[in-house]
Symmetry: C2
DNA sequence: TATTGATTCGAATCTAGATTCAAAACAAGA
DNA sequence: TCTTGTTTTGAATCTAGATTCGAATCAATA
């Protein structure tokens, strides 16, 4: 069952052509002491890195409940247990922080999905792979990463530029799903009359929206996953459109 | 195909126990000249009423793209083609305005759903009624009422108190759906093993999320509706869990 | 056309929240 | 302990956006 909760280190696709004065000071993980330069991914180590991580995590949390515009630095600071100005030691602006949270979310969503799919045995049918994808998506959104949830739900609200930058990653994720559906259709497991694009988005919507209502106390995650899998598998499956 | 777009008159469930100084001035439709006092519902008439309507409509629009916190009076004003202060002639605060937009949205969603279901012939099976509900929900969200979309998608972001007030209406709507599913299950049309609550929310999520991606230019609404109906009907249906 | 209430608007006020600054507080090595 | 670079912070500054005000503008009616 994996560690506890992934860390938060991947750097935002820094706006290439911006003014050079970008970082006033030097956000740790980037250079400072020659520590372990290979730290592109996992768990934070130095105290500093952990603080940074707490901040990004907090951002995701707030983003989730308040939406893009409603995300205040003061709230983030409170959750991360620092003073608001401390945030500026790590990020040069609210926007940059938010974008990193979203970016991390999208990457993590993709990563967890890939990992899940990689574990599926070759012999599996496309439809079985879809079941796995459903479980992965829900697991990620509902328990593994608040970032993912924040990302997926917030993209639409982001200010133009930022959204455009993140859209790429978002598309890539959707493409994975599209691939799954296409395979299934090719294998004749899916109702060939289905509008694939629409079906895809409908399925993804169903999964994503869970964040809005799922409550750990209301019913187990596994139950939700099972329900979703069943609903989706049956929904997509080719059928004899007769039955009264 | 009905008029063009419903109007916007129903008043927000005014916070019963608040200070009496609530309305500084007298929002038209409420009293002013003894016009037609029976105007509790439909199309606006006086110029004033239409302005008010434009404002609420604009609010819904902004709410949709920017989320609760991101909804600025200046944007609303721009869309409604008035100066921001003009809004205060009709509403005593941003909050009140937003709440009305949401409230109207919820009521309209419910109304359109009821109308749609009322037209279904007695003879229809529960599953057929669900198909109708699916179409109604999508029609409402995607074309008949930006308010509905705003309402359904925004409730979660609203500040506590406001949300609590609107939650009632929201629940009522969900209950309609619950009823539909329960009937279908009772009639043996639905897989009896399905977790009804989860299934319900998953279906509703799938439908609601459409607002996030549907683009009139990308594919017709009817196509989306058809896809959703098929997906949902098959998904819910009782099945012989065998088939390779 | 003079009068009065209904509407709308430009300019001024207020406030929350982002951002900046200079001075602590800390940590690790000399 | 002293020195230096890293982190964090309290207090001050700045700005966008909500809200308030008093003065127009309008419309209908006496």
């Amino acid at each position: 069952m994996r560690s506890d909760r992934e860390s938060t280190t991947t750097r935002v696709g820094v706006p290439e052509q911006r003014d050079p004065t970008y970082h006033r000071n030097m956000p740790p993980a980037t250079s400072s002491r020659g520590k372990d330069p290979a730290s592109t991914r996992g768990g934070a180590s130095s105290k500093s890195e952990r603080t940074r991580e707490r901040i990004v995590d907090a951002t995701a949390r707030v983003l989730n409940s308040r939406g893009y515009a409603g995300t205040r630095l003061s709230d983030i600071a409170a959750i991360a247990e620092v003073q608001a100005p401390a945030i500026y030691y790590y990020f040069s602006s609210r926007e940059e922080l938010v974008e990193e949270a979203v970016s991390v979310g999208l990457q993590r969503t993709m990563l967890l999905m890939r990992e899940a799919l990689d574990e599926v045995p070759e012999s599996a049918t496309p439809l079985q792979r879809i079941r796995v994808a459903v479980a992965a998506h829900l697991n990620t959104l509902l328990t593994h990463s608040e970032h993912s949830a924040a990302a997926v739900r917030t993209v639409a609200q982001l200010p133009q530029e930022m959204r455009d930058r993140q859209l790429t990653a978002h598309r890539a994720y959707i493409d994975v799903w599209r691939g799954l559906l296409e395979d299934a259709r090719a294998a004749g497991e899916i109702d060939p009359d289905l509008d694939l694009r629409a079906a895809l988005m409908i399925v993804l919507g169903a999964l994503t929206w869970t964040v809005e209502w799922w409550d750990p106390d209301q019913g187990s995650l596994d139950r939700v996953i099972a329900t979703a899998q069943s609903l989706i598998e049956n929904g997509l499956s080719a059928t004899a459109p007769s039955a009264a």
